[in-house]
Symmetry: C2
């Protein structure tokens, strides 16, 4: 199992929409995430920051990440959530920025 954490900003005027979207996440998205071997995934908010933690239980992370890239429902979900988000300044791309693990206790 591999642990991942990522950070992104939420647009202030989109927090309520983002909260609603995730309180009632589309079942197809949850199903695809599980088939991507993602487990124990949580998203947290404070002060305009979003923090995501999850565990990957597969054996080919890149392949699993790419698995549903062409799925129309996944594309729609990523579009509506990306419209709420704003990458942190240091992010390389246009999405969630990986964080460095400093500590772990099992």
């Amino acid at each position: 199992m591999q642990r991942f954490a990522q950070v992104i900003r939420i647009r202030p005027d989109k927090l309520d929409e983002y909260r609603r979207l995730h309180a009632d996440c589309w079942p197809e998205i949850l199903e695809m995430m599980r088939r991507q071997n993602i487990r124990n995934c949580s998203i947290y908010h404070r002060d305009g920051l979003l923090f995501m933690y999850y565990e990957y239980v597969g054996t080919d992370f890149a392949a699993d990440q790419a698995r549903f890239a062409d799925d129309p429902t996944m594309q729609r979900w990523l579009a509506v959530t990306a419209a709420c988000q704003q990458p942190v300044d240091s992010a390389d791309g246009d999405g969630w920025a990986p964080m460095e693990e400093l500590f772990h206790l099992d």
Copy 2:
């Protein structure tokens, strides 16, 4: 089991020290955390932000949190780590600020 996430800032000149402290965390601290019923605890860094994620497996969170408040080693650990940290603006106290869980997938 209850999940928790918290956020705090790291003083820029203290990141290396904080990284070293946590890469080689004192065994007594790890032992006390386990006796506090904390499991799967990770701390992540990016852009001066620290995120902590952990799971609580006990039945009295407040009592477990207070269990080692008077322990000299715990007090020393909290002093050296607090000297590296800076609460986020919205924090109520002088330490880690709780985050709101927006999403969870088992």
